[in-house]
Symmetry: C2
Subunit: 196 residues, 2 copies
Amino acid sequence: MSSSEGDNYLFDPELLKNLDWNSMNYAVSPFITNEDPGESWLLIRPLKIEDYDKGYLQLLSQLTSVGNVSRSDFEKQYWNMKKAGGYYVTVIVDTRNNQIIGASTLITEFKFIHNCSLRARLEDVVVNNTYRGKQLGKLIVLTVSLLAKKLGCYKMSLDCKDSLIPFYKSIGYKCEPGNANSMMVRYDAPKADSPS
Amino acid sequence: MSSSEGDNYLFDPELLKNLDWNSMNYAVSPFITNEDPGESWLLIRPLKIEDYDKGYLQLLSQLTSVGNVSRSDFEKQYWNMKKAGGYYVTVIVDTRNNQIIGASTLITEFKFIHNCSLRARLEDVVVNNTYRGKQLGKLIVLTVSLLAKKLGCYKMSLDCKDSLIPFYKSIGYKCEPGNANSMMVRYDAPKADSPS
């Protein structure tokens, strides 16, 4: 891949190579990986600006309110993320129709604790619900989880609804006893209608 | 304040002025704010590199394992945060002995959802436990929470132990029914001994 092609991605696609899938083989059956996702028409790669036209925001709207995001808004936020660093938005593409059918985001955070370590967070996981039965949820979450491991993060955390606990448990996430609460405060309502 | 002084802070100290404390007056009694913290010797300000020598890491070690962080490690991570942006590490100083006695961190995240909004997280809250009874926990958490509001974040979230739920409820945070779980996976052990 030429560097000019690499420049089109939110992060270096080379980072998605040789992830430690063997550590998760108990959880994935039949065994698939981001590099061998079980169907020849599935492609897992970093987000590109062009994904604005490939249904990325429409996919996110299955998860929560997205609002009316113009291409200019999208590009501005893409470059905010790329400039800041630490944003690993990863997508699944159906290459037959060039549509984004799954996505998740790894965000890394600099810490002073734990020897100035790196912490990871999982955000905005969504899979088009017409593609059930292909383990795409596991595939997209484990891809970014194994990327966090590769980047040297000491832990990765997520917030989720009660109904999703069994799913995340099945791929190695835990509720730590006495320390598994997520709390929040909401400020001004977003312009769109249903917050998450 | 000259711009050269401003350059010494992790973020612009002007941001901590005129926060919306009136919205929290039900929770703070007697009423104090970051600009009027109740004692003339208390100062709330952004982190500085010099805080390495003022007990900032020793304070963090009351919270979790910090490890053996050299001044060079600390400066490197400080500049990583400053360059990335979105890191608002805020401290309470006892100006009588120039020691850091409280700290909390606001981290902001760029999102595509909710009209390309900004989300906030609360991290690494700690107050020296010899300074009890001065509402310093409320003071340091609300300072960064009101900063998140001022920055236009649509929500601010935190992960906490069961024992801290009443404290955070008392200052406006909620466990949303059916959606208040924090899960995690740990990777290689950090160099230091007790993770958090």
